[in-house]
Symmetry: C2
Subunit: 451 residues, 2 copies
């Protein structure tokens, strides 16, 4: 028998009491040479022919086919609803047309936990045929579909890739408060909660904390839920999303952050490709150019003004159709799905934004578009206390609630910057999925708060 | 010059405009052979002697000594407050008594960002001499102290170790909602928030979601903030803590989970040791035995009854002094800092707890004590719908809010279990720190919500 790494703590019941071989993950089944194997998982499907039935067993790693010809076993399995949990021990035999190139013969099938009824969705079909609201209402079932399980696994892979790149670049992971005492910038779109009798808020972003921590570790990242009371129902927004944040010191300007981001994206997409999920879902691996093209906001408005035949020079931000047009333009001009738009007007960026040296109408900030949708926001921040005091005063923001944050700038802070990236939105766009609810686990929006 | 890995995006300003060598992390300075080097960081301290001054520069990786003998440079640096941000280029020379075995001579010192004033705390002293409340109020400064920065870095290392072990064991990372529509088990100690005009709650634990996801991926973990409205001020509780959760299917019973947990702890402590933080803080590396000793709750009560000379047989839980006594007992009896207490009474465990086969007064659950403090809780869960329906009914809990969760059990769930671990509390106890506020970044409690 070819070497199988023993899996600790898996199916000890079977191996001890039934003298079965220990359980094997389906994707590590040995080269079939007639040996006995045990697999455990869900009854994915049963296809009954006249003289034989084919049972598909699904575990976390894959699906294997089991050939049932004994009438008693066949009858017993046929009486089980889909999704029943079973263990199968049998002889592994090569079978060119079966999934994985092998199948299990002469099986002993044991029921671990029978499903009570047929599931509300046909999980064995190649695609789930149901409305999105049905899929979300029945998440406990819908998520089991192999294509959906693979899609959500891409989130985990992208997340691991993010952490891996930044850890290798000496970033330190931090975990910061999600309950905050003061609502930054006036409290728009912030959830309010009762904190032992006083008002508190859910953090929209770890921005202020990650800047404080640049004073400690120079380079920090956080991966955590963030909360926005989005009053609009869109295909791109959720009221809880998973935010990947980084911040780094000793930068030249926002371009240092953009370079680091380019490497991070390459690592995230590499991890998604390595996970096998993109292949399973037939999604081409997105290409990240070594240098992502860049257009200044001012020049973007000129291009858009010509294209839309209107005067956009005073626009403070890009509308979704403008982003889409720029995405197409970047593909025509540079052959790139990616485009940095830099220099957004200071009046549209938050108070901590660093202005463009020489022209303070513009900022040292950027958005990154992928196929015409903004997927990352970042930039250089102010690093001198007097600049903060001036920025807060000129925007009419009371500095007092920010005292604990501003203290970091009294004590020496290097030029620094960072970015924030919504994990679900990025993976959605990379995968060509049209609604963020189809990639967020248990999404939360204006009307949905369960399951 | 010995090979220095070029650091992308670090101090490009200096290298481009000043023809300095590129910036080097202090802990990767080359073997000193008289070459020119550049370091950047914070002015950690300046020690002035008669003919010379010693400047300590601190970056995220360490501290290096710079010898100042030029009067102008010396005067300029002496005028800077501690924590000013500077860049130093000079000649690297071996120096046995200097930190890292080398020092920088003939320096050119450039100020990147001067501190405005002396910091409120003397960060250059070996220990911070201040009340805890002062340290927390001035977190932006206090966290910069090398010992404190090292302590918080242990959290990051332990977290990375947790993820690494479980990923290698085929666990899939999940991210679940922190805003939930129904308060589990009556809503005690739950924060309530206003969710677009309706009541919602902050999740105390991802328990129900990770069980649903066992039906999808068999093995899952989550690392995320969790929220408890703890009405007591203790040294062990926070209202936001960082919860490490896992859940796995196809277990024999809670012992399968305990085995996996033992491996996880070994991985977490290994990562803490590898980070160098334990050594820097002079904390001995905690030993995890290959099998952690176990005592049944019933037997623990007998032992405690004898020790405390009182009848404890009807106690539903262990008091802190009981846990401490058991910690000492485990050391006397087994030479172990660790002790599993198993079989806690069903009436004290949550509704999803699996009873002990043969004696339903007890449960297939465990707490893990380290040096007499509970640091992990886990166990086997129910996996049959009828058991859930009975458990909820017998506790008088309305099943309706749990419909989306219970659906997972209609469709075949394997025997499963898992554990939850409070990151700050575990690292506190492993490091012999007496208050969880001294290891949580920006802690939240009854009275503290800033910074």
């Amino acid at each position: 028998m070819s070497p199988i790494t023993p899996l600790p703590s898996v199916s000890m019941a079977e191996s001890r009491h039934l003298a079965r071989p220990p359980r094997c993950w389906i994707d590590t089944l040995p080269t079939p040479e007639g040996q006995r194997v045990t697999v455990s998982g869900w009854l994915h499907h049963l296809r009954e022919l006249k003289s034989v039935a084919f049972l598909l067993v699904r575990d976390t790693s894959g699906v294997v086919q089991v050939v049932l010809d004994d009438p008693d076993t066949r009858g017993m399995v046929a009486a089980l609803p889909h999704e029943s949990v079973i263990t199968v021990t049998g002889t592994l035999v090569a079978a060119k047309n079966a999934p994985g190139g092998c199948e299990v013969h002469d099986p002993v099938v044991t029921v671990i936990s029978a499903a009570l009824e047929e599931p509300v969705l046909d999980l064995y079909r190649p695609e789930l045929d149901a409305q999105q609201s049905t899929l979300l209402d029945h998440a406990a079932v819908a998520l089991r579909h192999p294509r959906r399980a693979a899609a959500y696994r891409l989130l985990a892979a992208a997340l691991a890739g993010f952490r891996q790149v930044l850890t290798a670049q000496r970033f330190t992971e931090i975990t910061t408060p999600k309950i905050i005492g003061a609502a930054p910038e006036g409290g728009a779109n912030v959830f309010r909660l009762d904190y032992f009798g006083q008002s508190a808020y859910l953090a929209q972003s770890p921005q202020l904390y990650k800047q404080i921590m640049v004073g400690v570790y120079e380079r920090v990242f956080e991966t955590a839920p963030a909360f926005r009371a989005e009053p609009h129902a869109t295909t791109r927004h959720l009221s809880q999303f998973y935010s990947l944040d980084m911040e780094m010191g000793f930068i030249e300007d926002h371009h240092t952050v953009m370079e680091m981001l380019t490497g991070v994206l390459r690592g995230m997409i590499g991890a998604m490709a390595d996970s096998g999920g993109l292949e399973l879902l037939e999604i081409p691996v997105p290409v990240v150019p070594s240098v992502i093209p860049e257009v200044h906001f001012r020049d973007a408005l000129d291009l858009l003004g010509d294209a839309f035949e209107s005067d956009l020079r005073d626009e403070p931000d890009l509308a979704p159709e403008h982003e889409r047009w720029l995405g197409d333009w970047a593909m025509r001009q540079f052959g790139s799905d990616w485009l940095f738009v830099t220099g957004y007007p200071m009046r549209k960026r938050p108070f901590y934004t660093h202005p463009e040296p020489g022209d303070p109408r513009w900022s040292n900030s950027f958005d990154l578009l992928y196929k015409g949708l903004e997927v990352v926001t970042g930039g250089q921040r102010l690093h001198r206390l007097e600049d903060y005091e001036q920025a807060l005063a000129s925007r009419g923001i009371d500095a007092e609630p920010f005292a604990g944050y501003l203290e970091a700038f009294r004590s020496g802070m290097p030029p620094h910057g960072g970015f924030a990236l919504g994990l679900e939105r990025l993976v959605m766009q990379l995968c060509g999925i049209r609604n963020v609810r189809a990639i967020a686990l248990f999404p939360r929006d204006l009307t949905r708060i369960a399951p």
